[in-house]
Symmetry: C2
Subunit: 332 residues, 2 copies
């Protein structure tokens, strides 16, 4: 594939990062591994490892699996990485394409990333975080609406957040690029995001259902069968995992028996924590996703099959190109 | 203005309803009056009266103010209209361009509207409601995400709901048009909605801030000063007004002292209802919108001025045309 194949999808992002299409793999915690990230990069997008909470053994293994010449970045949960600075060193030693910092003040870490000559991407859920990202000198701001899977806030949606961030950045840091995230799972979402002023899109859920993703078959079957409205934003699994998320954050996940039982009854869940932890542990080991967790975004209703990452990327690019070409022509 | 002015915005909706641009005024309860609706229609869009809960005196007055030859429709809250069938007769006698039915089973009323030779538009918040709309023989389905102001559900957002409704309709009722609603306040949102497969957009919040809208100056000043994240979905004013909304619905409104005090404390609010009702009544009369209600959508963060409805419509159309033309050309 060459950039000439999708001329309508050339953006500042593709130019700056040597991509053929402005599609970025979301750094899904331990789901976006070396295999999936390389597949997205090799297909003409940009892959990111999901460093998430920072598991050193996982990171070392996935970094060692990367071929040295593939452009792949790495994402982290900022507040967690702040306690594990050695993990950032580990990643920077591998010359990542970029580091995505999400959830927390990016400024102290951004300085270190920049000092290593690596671009800083900051994922933000609202305009206040976008201002903080600009203060951190972010090269790219990922504007993530509440449609997205996993952690974030429900306060804003992609359709309104992206243009507001674009306007904010345009006034203050016009060289900073904006990438749209949350609810983008097909070519329509990609084309729409470019109309909103984004330089590209960050895609999680659609690639979660890629052949290369290390997602459990039972979880995939459940997610593919799910439709619209089968996701919920909740903190129940954070309670179970005893993760210290700020109260402003929750996460979008597939509805299941566990969320139906405990969402809205978090205090009771805390009072029966050991039992719930044991249930979730057993269910995860058994691949029973009526109790185990599947973080997934609202875009799952647009995902109807498992396909290779390259096929997903090309289908999105072909569809978006067709839409933009057709709508941009008065002869349609 | 002629359709030739915006050739890239010609859709099945503009063709079927004789519009120049695919922009529809949301039937905001008693805000979308004859003056505002006519202004939108005369500028090349399609205006709707906000029949809302069904105030007979208001409806009679606004209907009488319509010039007979202007294409203007009327919207109602379905579950409320079901108890007041004479209001539908009143509207149908005026040969509206269409009737929008929102919130409730549209089937019994749709039959009557169709029998009068008037198109039925059904506003839906999820796919189940979209199926019900198709059962009702809807001519147009308005797919409304949780970004929208006023009533609805937070379950879905515009970016994912619209393409899912488009796919559903395409398979079962391909002659039914889909209009996107929720969070669309500028040309970027219009262009993005067309990419998602919508035949047009329904716009509330932006026209709420039109010069012609009968909105209180104090409310406008507060809304224009508001930014992203200054809205909240809540039921507090439904509690105060003792409206019998189903539990699945809430409404998006401007955050103020009243929502900060009572949102999340609805049981306590019910126990002190008379006092709260008196407070809201007084505040509304005084134009004190720190306590009185302003229903407004998430798009308010994209609204920075009060302008005539025609200027708003032309600006949206010009911007959307520029975006689609630019993104659809490889020479950009």
């Amino acid at each position: 594939m060459t950039a000439v194949e999708y001329p309508l999808l050339a953006t500042r992002l593709t130019a700056r990062y040597g991509m053929d299409v402005p599609i970025v793999l979301a750094p899904m915690n331990q789901v976006s591994d070396a295999r999936l990230a390389q597949a997205v990069t090799n297909a003409g997008g940009l892959g990111f490892l999901g460093g998430g909470y920072g598991d050193e053994a996982w990171l070392e293994r996935e970094l060692s699996r990367l071929a040295g010449d593939d452009a792949v970045g790495c994402g982290f949960i900022t507040w967690r990485l702040a306690d594990r600075p050695q993990l950032l060193d580990l990643v920077l030693d591998h010359h990542p394409a970029a580091v995505i910092l999400s959830f927390g003040d990016p400024r102290p870490l951004a300085e270190k990333v920049h000092a290593a000559g690596v671009p800083v991407w900051c994922q933000v859920c609202d305009l206040e975080q976008a201002r903080q990202a600009m203060d951190a000198g972010a090269d790219v701001i990922v504007a993530q609406g509440g449609e997205s899977g996993g952690h974030g806030t429900a306060a804003r949606s992609t359709l309104t957040l992206v243009p507001e961030v674009v306007d904010l950045v345009h006034g203050r840091a016009p060289g900073t690029l904006v990438v749209a995230a949350g609810g983008i799972a097909d070519g329509r979402g990609l084309a729409a995001s470019l109309c909103l002023g984004a330089d590209g899109v960050l895609v999680g859920t659609r690639f979660w259902a890629a052949e290369e993703a290390p997602t459990a078959p039972e979880a995939r079957a459940r997610a593919i069968a799910a439709g619209c409205g089968d996701t919920v934003r909740s903190t129940v699994y954070d309670v179970v995992r005893e993760y210290d998320w700020q109260a402003s954050y929750d996460a979008r996940m597939l509805r299941n028996d566990f969320t139906s039982r405990w969402h809205g009854s978090e205090d009771e869940l805390r009072s029966r924590l050991a039992e719930a932890q044991s249930d979730v542990r057993t269910a995860t080991a058994d691949g029973d996703f009526s109790v185990a967790n599947v973080f997934i975004g609202e875009g799952i209703g647009l995902v109807h099959d498992i396909a290779p990452a390259a096929a997903i990327l090309h289908q999105m690019a072909t569809s978006a190109s067709e839409i933009l070409g057709r709508l941009g022509s008065a002869d349609r």
